[in-house]
């Protein structure tokens, strides 16, 4: 501590140690919080087509189209250790070839400070609902679930599923007209 430089070095190092300690305290204060919330999902229009999947095998696969309603209030999820939420909507179903199929249909980033009370009506999906075969037509048990990743300042990156999902079925006939 006998020169200006050693003193400056010492206080800088100590400040960094303290900031690491404070960040850990911030993590500890939020680690046991339950980040689940309720969401209400509903499908409006559901059709299924049988078209060639040029991105994969060029064979005709089932392609689902749907529009959905989504209502949820995510504002209680935000605290001083949450920077943003990454929401994603998955469809889960069972086919003869696969026990579990999961397709992400839609996603959204909610920053802290954004309106976290979501109320969407008749939304289109962002991503194609391809099946890797012909498992969608007449499928009676397709479940939509909303989940989210919590992006924190420090700590874990939890993936949480909402309470409340919606189960719907695809029609038994292919749609041939334009959707």
């Amino acid at each position: 501590m006998h020169t200006v430089l050693t003193r400056a070095n010492a206080i800088l190092a100590y400040t960094l140690s303290v900031s690491a300690c404070l960040t850990f305290c911030c993590f500890l204060s939020t680690v046991f919080i339950d980040y689940r919330a309720n969401a209400t999902l509903n499908t409006v229009k559901v059709v299924v087509k049988n078209v060639p999947d040029y991105s994969a095998s060029r064979e005709k696969n089932d392609l689902g189209f749907l529009t959905f309603d989504l209502q949820t209030d995510l504002s209680p999820l935000f605290n001083w250790n949450v920077k943003q939420l990454f929401l994603y909507l998955t469809a889960e179903y069972r086919t003869e070839t696969n026990e579990i199929n999961q397709v992400v249909l839609w996603d959204k980033i909610v920053l802290r400070g954004d309106n976290a009370v979501l109320d969407f009506k008749n939304m289109n999906t962002k991503y194609y609902f391809w099946d890797d075969g012909n498992g969608l037509r007449g499928n009676k048990n397709v479940t939509l679930t909303l989940s989210w990743n919590i992006i924190p300042n420090a700590g874990f990156l939890p993936s949480v599923s909402a309470h409340g999902s919606h189960t719907f079925s695809f029609p038994a006939e292919y749609t041939t007209s334009r959707v």
Partner: protein, 95 residues
């Protein structure tokens, strides 16, 4: 020019041992205090960035108060003994 340099050199820039110890202790106290206050304030308003800004203010304050060798860190100079006049005579004899 020379006079200027000499005037500059005559400005004391050292801290005595007691001053160094006090500077270190003071910087630790200031930074810890700002850190604790920042943590409480950040928790109250739920903004972790405010915690870091307050800690940064503590760093700046500690840098201003304890990094430059202020005169208050020079109050207990060491008591050096008077130079002994016999010593040089002895070395001369050996030669």
């Amino acid at each position: 020019m020379n006079a200027c340099l000499q005037a500059l050199r005559s400005v004391p820039t050292h801290m005595d041992y007691d001053g160094q110890a006090r500077a270190e202790k003071l910087s630790r106290v200031i930074i810890t205090l700002f850190g604790v206050v920042g943590l409480i304030w950040g928790y109250v308003i739920q903004q972790f960035s405010q915690t870091i800004y307050i800690l940064g203010a503590g760093f700046v304050m500690a840098a201003i108060i304890t990094v430059p060798p202020w005169p208050m860190y020079r109050r207990k100079p060491l008591d050096w003994q008077k130079p002994q006049t016999e010593a040089p005579a002895k070395t001369k004899k050996k030669k």
